[in-house]
Protein backbone atom coordinates (compact mmCIF):
# COMPACT_ATOMS: atom_id res chain seq x y z
CA UNK A 1 0.00 0.00 0.00
CA UNK A 2 1.33 3.43 -0.91
CA UNK A 3 -0.06 6.89 -0.14
CA UNK A 4 1.60 9.93 -1.70
CA UNK A 5 0.72 13.61 -1.20
CA UNK A 6 2.81 15.94 -3.33
CA UNK A 7 2.81 19.22 -5.20
CA UNK A 8 4.65 17.95 -8.31
CA UNK A 9 2.94 16.23 -11.23
CA UNK A 10 3.04 12.43 -11.19
CA UNK A 11 3.57 10.10 -14.15
CA UNK A 12 0.18 8.36 -14.47
CA UNK A 13 1.27 5.83 -17.09
CA UNK A 14 4.41 4.83 -15.20
CA UNK A 15 2.55 4.60 -11.88
CA UNK A 16 -0.25 2.53 -13.41
CA UNK A 17 2.22 0.16 -15.12
CA UNK A 18 4.37 -0.23 -12.00
CA UNK A 19 1.25 -0.95 -9.95
CA UNK A 20 0.04 -3.67 -12.34
CA UNK A 21 3.48 -5.22 -12.86
CA UNK A 22 4.53 -8.59 -11.53
CA UNK A 23 1.17 -9.63 -10.10
CA UNK A 24 0.56 -13.35 -10.51
CA UNK A 25 -2.10 -13.67 -7.83
CA UNK A 26 -4.31 -10.68 -8.73
CA UNK A 27 -6.49 -10.94 -11.83
CA UNK A 28 -7.88 -7.41 -11.73
CA UNK A 29 -6.38 -3.93 -11.54
CA UNK A 30 -8.56 -0.80 -11.57
CA UNK A 31 -7.26 2.77 -11.76
CA UNK A 32 -9.05 6.08 -11.43
CA UNK A 33 -7.51 9.40 -12.44
CA UNK A 34 -8.98 12.80 -11.69
CA UNK A 35 -8.22 15.54 -14.21
CA UNK A 36 -8.69 19.33 -13.92
CA UNK A 37 -11.73 19.97 -16.06
CA UNK A 38 -12.05 23.28 -17.84
CA UNK A 39 -15.13 25.44 -17.37
CA UNK A 40 -17.50 25.96 -20.30
CA UNK A 41 -15.88 28.27 -22.83
CA UNK A 42 -12.34 27.54 -21.63
CA UNK A 43 -12.78 30.00 -18.75
CA UNK A 44 -10.66 28.22 -16.15
CA UNK A 45 -7.13 29.53 -15.69
CA UNK A 46 -6.18 27.22 -12.84
CA UNK A 47 -7.42 24.91 -10.13
CA UNK A 48 -5.80 25.46 -6.75
CA UNK A 49 -5.88 22.72 -4.17
CA UNK A 50 -5.30 23.45 -0.51
CA UNK A 51 -4.80 20.67 2.02
CA UNK A 52 -4.10 20.05 5.69
CA UNK A 53 -0.56 18.67 5.89
CA UNK A 54 -0.37 15.82 8.37
CA UNK A 55 -4.09 15.14 8.51
CA UNK A 56 -4.18 14.53 4.74
CA UNK A 57 -1.69 11.66 4.90
CA UNK A 58 -3.41 10.18 7.98
CA UNK A 59 -6.87 10.35 6.41
CA UNK A 60 -5.75 8.86 3.08
CA UNK A 61 -3.86 6.06 4.84
CA UNK A 62 -6.90 5.21 6.99
CA UNK A 63 -9.18 5.14 3.92
CA UNK A 64 -6.74 2.96 1.96
CA UNK A 65 -6.28 0.56 4.88
CA UNK A 66 -10.04 0.22 5.20
CA UNK A 67 -10.33 -0.57 1.47
CA UNK A 68 -7.54 -3.17 1.60
CA UNK A 69 -9.13 -4.90 4.60
CA UNK A 70 -12.68 -4.79 3.31
CA UNK A 71 -12.03 -6.19 -0.16
CA UNK A 72 -8.92 -8.27 0.64
CA UNK A 73 -6.94 -6.25 -1.86
CA UNK A 74 -3.50 -7.36 -2.90
CA UNK A 75 -2.49 -3.71 -3.03
CA UNK A 76 -3.77 -0.13 -3.14
CA UNK A 77 -2.23 3.13 -4.29
CA UNK A 78 -3.33 6.74 -3.67
CA UNK A 79 -1.53 9.75 -5.14
CA UNK A 80 -3.00 13.22 -4.59
CA UNK A 81 -1.50 16.57 -5.55
CA UNK A 82 -1.99 19.99 -4.01
CA UNK A 83 -1.13 23.46 -5.31
CA UNK A 84 -1.98 25.12 -8.58
CA UNK A 85 -2.86 23.10 -11.70
CA UNK A 86 -3.93 23.96 -15.25
CA UNK A 87 -6.90 22.40 -17.08
CA UNK A 88 -5.92 18.93 -18.33
CA UNK A 89 -3.45 18.29 -15.51
CA UNK A 90 -3.93 15.17 -13.42
CA UNK A 91 -4.94 15.93 -9.86
CA UNK A 92 -4.85 12.47 -8.36
CA UNK A 93 -5.09 8.75 -8.96
CA UNK A 94 -6.03 5.62 -7.09
CA UNK A 95 -5.32 2.02 -8.04
CA UNK A 96 -6.56 -1.26 -6.61
CA UNK A 97 -5.51 -4.87 -7.23
CA UNK A 98 -7.77 -7.81 -6.35
CA UNK A 99 -8.19 -11.42 -7.44
CA UNK A 100 -11.54 -10.57 -9.10
CA UNK A 101 -12.87 -7.52 -10.94
CA UNK A 102 -15.89 -6.83 -8.72
CA UNK A 103 -13.69 -6.25 -5.67
CA UNK A 104 -11.15 -4.13 -7.56
CA UNK A 105 -13.96 -1.89 -8.89
CA UNK A 106 -15.81 -1.64 -5.56
CA UNK A 107 -12.64 -0.80 -3.66
CA UNK A 108 -11.64 1.90 -6.16
CA UNK A 109 -15.08 3.51 -5.98
CA UNK A 110 -14.99 3.33 -2.19
CA UNK A 111 -11.57 5.02 -2.14
CA UNK A 112 -12.85 7.79 -4.41
CA UNK A 113 -16.08 8.34 -2.47
CA UNK A 114 -14.27 8.58 0.87
CA UNK A 115 -11.32 10.55 -0.39
CA UNK A 116 -13.68 13.11 -1.89
CA UNK A 117 -15.55 13.85 1.34
CA UNK A 118 -13.21 12.74 4.13
CA UNK A 119 -9.69 13.71 3.10
CA UNK A 120 -8.88 17.38 3.85
CA UNK A 121 -8.54 18.89 0.37
CA UNK A 122 -10.30 22.02 -0.87
CA UNK A 123 -10.51 23.17 -4.47
CA UNK A 124 -10.52 26.78 -5.60
CA UNK A 125 -11.21 27.71 -9.21
CA UNK A 126 -9.36 30.65 -10.71
CA UNK A 127 -11.22 31.80 -13.80
CA UNK A 128 -11.67 34.85 -15.95
CA UNK A 129 -14.67 35.83 -13.86
CA UNK A 130 -12.66 35.65 -10.64
CA UNK A 131 -11.83 32.99 -8.06
CA UNK A 132 -14.15 30.84 -5.98
CA UNK A 133 -14.11 27.80 -3.70
CA UNK A 134 -15.75 24.72 -5.14
CA UNK A 135 -18.79 23.78 -3.04
CA UNK A 136 -19.14 20.20 -1.79
CA UNK A 137 -22.01 18.38 -3.45
CA UNK A 138 -24.82 16.76 -1.48
CA UNK A 139 -24.48 13.73 -3.75
CA UNK A 140 -20.86 13.27 -2.67
CA UNK A 141 -21.90 13.05 0.98
CA UNK A 142 -24.81 10.79 0.02
CA UNK A 143 -22.43 8.49 -1.89
CA UNK A 144 -20.89 7.40 1.43
CA UNK A 145 -24.10 5.82 2.67
CA UNK A 146 -23.85 2.94 0.22
CA UNK A 147 -20.72 1.52 1.83
Amino acid sequence: MRVVVQQEPFDFGAEAARFADGRHDMGAVVTFTGIVRDLAGGDLDAMEIEHYPGMTEKALTAIAEEAVARWSLGDALVIHRYGRMAPGERIMMVATAAPHRKDAFAAAEFLMDYLKSRAPFWKKEHGRAGAGWVAAKDEDEAALTRW
Partner: protein
Protein backbone atom coordinates in the same frame (compact mmCIF):
# COMPACT_ATOMS: atom_id res chain seq x y z
CA UNK B 1 -3.86 25.07 21.75
CA UNK B 2 -3.27 25.67 18.03
CA UNK B 3 -6.31 26.65 16.00
CA UNK B 4 -6.05 26.17 12.21
CA UNK B 5 -8.27 27.52 9.46
CA UNK B 6 -8.51 26.28 5.88
CA UNK B 7 -10.04 27.38 2.57
CA UNK B 8 -12.66 30.14 2.88
CA UNK B 9 -12.63 29.91 6.68
CA UNK B 10 -8.95 30.89 6.54
CA UNK B 11 -9.70 33.70 4.09
CA UNK B 12 -12.61 35.05 6.11
CA UNK B 13 -10.73 35.01 9.42
CA UNK B 14 -7.61 36.26 7.72
CA UNK B 15 -5.02 33.87 9.05
CA UNK B 16 -4.12 30.19 8.70
CA UNK B 17 -3.21 29.46 12.30
CA UNK B 18 -3.17 31.01 15.75
CA UNK B 19 -2.43 30.11 19.34
CA UNK B 20 -5.57 30.27 21.50
CA UNK B 21 -5.72 29.95 25.27
CA UNK B 22 -9.22 28.89 26.19
CA UNK B 23 -11.11 27.18 28.97
CA UNK B 24 -13.82 26.10 26.52
CA UNK B 25 -15.16 22.64 27.35
CA UNK B 26 -16.29 21.70 23.83
CA UNK B 27 -15.64 22.71 20.25
CA UNK B 28 -18.99 24.53 20.23
CA UNK B 29 -17.90 26.53 23.32
CA UNK B 30 -14.68 27.48 21.56
CA UNK B 31 -16.64 28.59 18.50
CA UNK B 32 -18.86 30.78 20.72
CA UNK B 33 -15.79 32.27 22.41
CA UNK B 34 -14.09 33.09 19.10
CA UNK B 35 -17.28 34.44 17.53
CA UNK B 36 -17.68 36.87 20.44
CA UNK B 37 -14.18 38.21 19.80
CA UNK B 38 -14.51 39.87 16.45
CA UNK B 39 -16.89 40.14 13.50
CA UNK B 40 -14.64 38.20 11.14
CA UNK B 41 -14.90 35.15 13.45
CA UNK B 42 -18.65 35.60 13.83
CA UNK B 43 -18.91 35.74 10.03
CA UNK B 44 -16.81 32.62 9.53
CA UNK B 45 -18.74 30.64 12.15
CA UNK B 46 -22.22 31.96 11.28
CA UNK B 47 -23.44 28.66 9.84
CA UNK B 48 -21.95 25.62 11.55
CA UNK B 49 -23.73 23.25 9.16
CA UNK B 50 -21.37 24.61 6.47
CA UNK B 51 -18.31 23.79 8.59
CA UNK B 52 -16.31 20.74 9.63
CA UNK B 53 -13.95 20.45 12.57
CA UNK B 54 -10.98 18.20 13.37
CA UNK B 55 -9.37 17.64 16.78
CA UNK B 56 -5.76 16.55 16.52
CA UNK B 57 -6.36 15.74 12.84
CA UNK B 58 -9.45 13.55 13.36
CA UNK B 59 -12.92 14.67 12.24
CA UNK B 60 -15.25 15.23 15.22
CA UNK B 61 -18.67 16.73 15.95
CA UNK B 62 -19.06 20.23 17.35
CA UNK B 63 -20.09 18.85 20.76
CA UNK B 64 -16.76 17.00 21.15
CA UNK B 65 -14.88 17.82 24.41
CA UNK B 66 -11.69 19.82 23.96
CA UNK B 67 -9.87 18.36 26.97
CA UNK B 68 -6.33 17.41 25.97
CA UNK B 69 -6.59 18.60 22.36
CA UNK B 70 -3.44 20.25 21.00
CA UNK B 71 -4.75 21.16 17.57
CA UNK B 72 -8.23 22.24 16.45
CA UNK B 73 -8.95 22.87 12.77
CA UNK B 74 -11.97 24.48 11.14
CA UNK B 75 -12.77 24.16 7.44
CA UNK B 76 -15.58 23.78 4.92
CA UNK B 77 -16.76 20.36 3.65
CA UNK B 78 -13.92 18.74 1.75
CA UNK B 79 -13.72 18.68 -2.04
CA UNK B 80 -10.85 16.35 -2.91
CA UNK B 81 -10.55 13.86 -5.71
Amino acid sequence: MDVLYFAWVRERIGLPKERVDSEAATVADLVAELSAREDRYAAAFADLSALRVALDQELVDFDAPLAGAREVAFFPPMTGG
